[in-house]
Structures are given as structure tokens and as C-alpha cells.
Symmetry: C2
Subunit: 404 residues, 2 copies
């Protein structure tokens, strides 16, 4: 028996139970023994569930799982950060493999949990934490055996992508598109983690740390969200033959790196520009493999559960490595120092303002009530410097990168 | 030591040697022992090579490899079908793992070699045989553990895609675009395997047999190539807001399946339509994972060698299964019986011809010197029947599927 302890019975946890029920026969055939969910940890036993839980042991006490000698693998699918972190640490110390779908947790404790798993000779896998159902982490680890990865990133937040797609296709304004995303269940009631880019940043932190084999912390990533975008931006993008996408990207530059989550103005012909709705796409570039992309559903119960169970099966058949996948390179963070062109909208206008920005303007797109420009090629930090010297605060501008 | 016997020193074989030299240190660290190319089999020892072969043992006799007890893995990178088949069979019988990049060979002997490897408890892996560097077979096998796959396919021939891209973007005619592909080295001097669709068909045969878990033989796949395409087709496609791509696709329909390699008229917004030049894209649809796509370089020495070496590393670390990945389903071939709409150009025109085809025409696109139509929804076999009854032979028409 492969004994599993499941943490959480939300969308992903429910998907895990459903898939294991649906594939019971095939998995027993594959593994020569059944996969059994021995216990499920929840916060509230009385909460009504979509799933019939009669045949499962439900508990609110993690001790019931840690003390169950027949549980070899802990599958974590909670949204919780602190408590779940304690559980995963305890699980590894107690000799149990860990699979997590929790990007906030994995991002925060990546180094510590990776090293702890290595020390204990156990698996710590988290495919489901990045880009939902897309099996990009396993592919990335495979490519790292033969390649130096020079670039990784893409569209890793389905909520933002849905909002931008609806604004672009239907001419909705930001608040309408956000409301629609909330109604469908793509966006949370408090959507800040998604629209301000924090969710993308956590996923990029994981992708970049693996890909570049250097520590890329959350604090190393430049962050701009989509919460300030307006109908005017979409109209101007359309005139330029481009589309806005929230892009998370990290790249190696000499002995340094640059990592950012930022709205980007992409050419309509580009692959990333064609990623619509709640889909995700992750691209990597290696020195042997060239450019390689993965495209699929970045969220949803079944796809995300599918990714977590893929990790579980790798553990069950023994095709995982307990060695930490993190590398020893010490690349310098060049964030903000590398040149690029930007799209900048400032929420106010007067002649002095235009005059002040003149030295960095390549093309004036709109002026009057607001100032919208494409900048010359320059370091991002110079833009921030200009904004600050004109006392323009975060709520008064919208900034995007102009992709070549 | 991981002892390797390499068959072939063409583009892919040379790439294999280059990558192993470049990653010597990292691989020894990963595996705890070096990967050593013990012997290389070539047809002609005297042929001048790009590679410095002084430090390798080169032979023209396969016996030198089969008798070398330190060779555990045979890496096959020849273009040969019959001789190489004998070698691989002998290798498996002799207890050596096999990795092949040879799609014609793998397609022809898929069942036999899979079962032989299973019987011997050895690996038979062929990631490099489908879509070059794109690691789609490993991902497909992973997804099969948890999913019923309902559809697989995409753009798997870079030569055709390059030709179609150049015709579409630059207005070249077919022979100009083909000549350019030959000059760059994308197309062979005898380009028939590529442009008539046989190369795509072989790759689809492999993908579909794994994905649908039923035997899909080369003879089960409906085949139309791009060799008959003309500038007029491209112009009409452009007017329809569509692009021609050579699409290889197989799908499950109830207890049957349909598999075809055929030019398709895709909407410009579709992901596949955006695949340009020598790139490939493979899509699969599973009942849990939804739609998942892989995009990258479908050919080239380093990407293809990278895929073959990925197989080799899975063998070296033991994360492979010797169990045949082929399934036991017995789906009926519904090829040609399912309804679709088609783009049909006939290379001649008279009123009687238009009259004869009238019952199946949905929209007349062009008439005069030729007859070009979009058909109503109907089974493909009905089109073939109509063509035959009007004595229109293969050289006198061009046929494509109109994608919804």
C-alpha cells in the first residue's frame, strides 16, 4: 500500500481524491499495490463538502497523520502558509515524503525544505505550485542535466491573463473584468495577490531559482502589477498592434541575472501574446535545447491535482531525486540596471510634467488629461528615479515593458 | 562508468558527442561515474568529419559494440532502417538498453521492440524520434498514468512548416520555398518523405499508439501532403483569415479513433497557427489535465541529441520503465468516416465539373481555370469518392481540412 496523508480538502484536495478514485484500478496495476488516502486533515470537520467523505478518515489534528506509520507521503493542498509549513517540516523530520501544491509556502521556504529533504533522503516535490497542471518543473529539472538555462518565464497567473484577455477582446474596463473573474471563481474576493503580481512573483522565484541555479529570492524580483491598467492602455496597445500580458521572467546576463514580474506589451504575433483566458505558458531557453515552451491550464482543481499526483507517482515508483535541485551559482542581481524600452502612463498632465520627462521619451502616445509615452531604451531604475523626483506615487502611473 | 555504444555520426550523433564532452564534469557529478562513449559505429571510417574523432574508437563492425561488455546502452542515431533494426534487436537480446532517434525504424518496429525490451527487462526509449528536442513522449507517458488521452497531434515536421511559413509570409511559390529549405539544410535533396507527409505520419503513429493505448499502424492514418499547394491556395487562405499548416492528429471517438496527416486551414488566432519556421508543437488533451501543449525545435543536431541523452540519463539513474508503454485497447479505425469541412482545389475547370461537385459545395472560392471550394460537412471518404468518379487523380487536386 502507498499510504497518503492529505492536507486540505479545497478545490485541489477534492480533485486529488476524485482522481485517485477514478484511477484506482489503473494505479494498482501500475504500482502493484493500491494508493490509499489514510487520513485527511481539515480545519473544520463539519463544513459541508461537495465530496462524499464517508469512506475517509477526516481529522483536525496533524498528529493523527504524523503518527500513522502507514502514511509514507504527505500531500499538501492547503492555502495556508504558517501552519502548513510546520506540518511539512514535521513530516520530513518524521521520515515522510512531501508533495506540496502551495506556491506561497514553497516560495517562502524553498531552500530550507529542499535541504531538509536532501538530508533525510526524502522527496520534496511541488510541481502543482507553478503553472497548475503544466508539468514544467519536472521538464526543467530534466533539461538542467544537459543545459545551461539562460532564460525562463512566461504567463503564470491565469487570473490576470483572464482580466487582460477580457479587457482586450471585449473592451471591458478593469473593474468589470475583475468582477467577472470573481464571479467565475478565477479571482479571490481579495484579488491583490493576483493583480498586484505577488502570485506570479512567487512562481517566478521557484522557476528562476531552479533554472539559474542561484538563489533568486522574492525580494530580488522587480514587481509591477496590472491593477492600474485602464481602457486607454488597451486602446493604445491595439493601435500599436500589441497586447498587454503580465509576464514573469528571469534571465542570466553574464555573471548576473535579472528577474521581474511586469505587464509587457507584446507583438500580436508572439506565442505568449496568443495565450488567452486562464491559460498559462512557460518558456525556457537552454544552450542545447534552444527555446522550449509549455502551454496549458494554469489553475483548476483537476489539472492542479493531476500535477500533485504526478509527483506522488514519481515517489511511488522511485523516479525522484532527494538531492536538492537548487544550485551553487552566485549570480549578481542586476535588477533595474539593464536597458529596455517601456510604456508609461501618468495619471495627470501638465506641460512641466511633459517637459520633465522629455529626455526619456521616444514617442508620445497620448497627452492632455494624462501623459502616455514609449520611452527610450534605459534602465528601469531611471524611470523609477524620474517618477520619484516628480512625486508620482504608485497609484498615479501604469508601467509596462515594451518587448522587442 | 556508464558505457555507451553510439551508432551513427551524422548531425545527431555528432551532437551527442559534443554534448557529452561539454557536460562531462556535471554528468559525472550527477551520476557518480562518467558517461563514456566506448565505441562509435560508422559506415565509412575515412569520411571527413566536423568532429575530431581521434579520442574515440571508431568501427564499421557492430560486433565490436555487441561484444563490449562495458557497453550497457546503445544510442542509435543513424538514418538507416533495416540494418539498424537488426542492430537494435541484437542489442536488446544481448542485454543492452536501447535509445533510438530514428523515427522510421521506431514507427516500423514499435510493437516488436517494445515487447522485446519488456521481456528482457531493458529500456527501449525514443524521445528524439518525435518532434526533435521537445520532451513530449516522457510527458505523455507521465500523463497516461492519470489521464485518458482523447486527442494528440500538432505540427511535427519542421520542413513542411518552414515551406508553408515562407510561402505565407513572403509570397514565395512552392518550388522556391522548397529550394530555400534545401539550401538551408531543412529539406533533403529528395524531399518526398517530408512534403508528402510520411515523416509526420511516422511520428503520429508513435504518438497515437501511446496516447490512445491502441495499435495505430502507419496504414491506419489518412495521408495528404503539401506537395500540391500553390500560391493561389495561400492567397485564398489569407482572404479567409486563415493559415495552412500540415497537421498530424489522432483522436478517440467513442470506441473508435481517427488519425490523419493533412494540410489544415487554421484560424490565425490559434496557437498552432502561430508556430513558424522549423518549430514544432504537439498538443494533447486528457480528461484530467485538459489541453497541454509543448512547443520547441523539432529538428537540429543539438536539440535532437539533447532528447536522446535525456533518455540515456533516465536509464543511468534508473528512472525508466522496461514495461511496454503500449496499451491493450482495441479501438476501431473510423478514418474517413467522420464528418468535417474541407478546402478542395481541383486543377482544372469546366461547368460539368462544377455541376458534379455542386451537392457538396458550401462556398465557391474561385472558379475559371481551376475550381476551389469549401465543402459542406461530410466524411472525407465521400470526397475521395467524388474525386474518383470524376477521374481526378492525386496530382490534380489539393485537399485540406477546414478547422472549426
Amino acid at each position: 500500500m502507498i499510504g497518503v496523508g492529505l492536507l486540505g480538502l479545497g478545490t485541489v484536495g477534492t480533485g486529488i481524491v476524485e482522481i485517485l478514485e477514478d484511477r484506482k484500478k489503473e494505479l494498482e496495476e501500475l504500482l502493484g499495490e493500491p494508493v490509499v488516502i489514510r487520513k485527511i486533515l481539515v480545519l473544520n470537520k463539519k463544513k459541508p463538502r461537495k465530496l462524499n467523505t464517508d469512506r475517509y478518515v477526516i481529522t483536525t489534528d496533524f498528529k493523527d497523520l504524523i503518527n500513522d506509520k502507514d502514511i509514507q507521503i504527505i500531500l499538501e493542498a492547503t492555502g495556508d502558509q504558517d501552519r502548513a509549513y510546520g506540518y511539512l517540516k514535521e513530516a520530513l523530520i518524521g521520515g515522510k515524503h512531501v508533495v506540496s501544491a502551495n506556491k506561497a509556502l514553497v516560495s517562502k521556504h524553498l531552500e530550507e525544505l529542499s535541504l531538509l529533504a536532501e538530508e533525510k533522503g526524502l522527496a520534496f516535490l511541488y510541481e502543482a505550485s507553478v503553472a497548475g497542471g503544466i508539468p514544467v518543473l519536472k521538464a526543467l529539472k530534466d533539461q538542467l542535466r544537459l543545459n545551461r538555462i539562460n532564460k525562463i518565464g512566461g504567463i503564470v497567473n491565469g487570473t490576470c491573463n483572464f482580466i487582460l484577455t477580457r479587457m482586450g477582446d471585449e473592451g471591458l474596463d478593469y473593474s468589470q473584468a475583475l468582477k467577472e473573474a470573481q464571479e467565475i471563481g478565477y479571482a479571490e474576493l481579495d484579488p491583490r495577490d493576483d493583480v498586484e503580481g505577488l502570485d506570479s512573483l512567487r512562481k517566478l522565484r521557484i522557476l528562476a531559482s531552479l533554472a539559474l541555479q542561484t538563489r533568486v529570492g522574492e525580494e530580488d524580483i522587480l514587481l509591477e502589477g496590472i491593477e492600474g491598467i485602464s481602457k486607454l492602455d488597451l486602446e493604445l496597445a491595439n493601435k500599436l498592434g500589441r497586447r498587454f500580458k503580465l509576464i514573469a521572467t528571469a534571465r542570466r546576463v553574464g555573471v548576473g541575472f535579472e528577474a521581474q514580474v511586469m505587464p509587457s506589451l507584446l507583438k500580436k504575433e508572439s506565442q505568449l501574446s496568443g495565450v488567452c483566458g486562464a491559460y498559462n505558458m512557460v518558456e525556457l531557453t537552454g544552450d542545447k535545447i534552444g527555446s522550449l515552451s509549455f502551454y496549458g491550464l494554469g489553475a483548476g482543481g483537476l489539472p492542479t491535482a493531476n500535477a500533485a499526483l504526478s509527483d506522488l507517482l514519481d515517489i511511488a515508483v522511485g523516479s525522484y531525486s532527494s538531492k536538492s535541485p537548487l544550485g551553487q551559482e552566485a549570480l549578481t542581481n542586476l535588477g533595474g540596471k539593464l536597458e529596455a524600452s517601456f510604456y508609461l502612463r501618468i495619471n495627470k498632465y501638465n506641460c512641466e510634467l511633459e517637459q520633465a520627462f522629455k529626455p526619456i521619451i521616444e514617442e508620445l502616445l497620448f497627452s492632455g488629461t494624462q501623459l502616455v509615452v514609449l520611452t527610450k531604451k534605459l534602465p528601469l531604475k531611471e524611470i523609477y528615479y524620474q517618477l520619484e523626483s516628480q512625486s508620482i506615487s504608485k497609484n498615479d502611473y501604469f508601467l509596462a515593458r515594451l518587448e522587442a
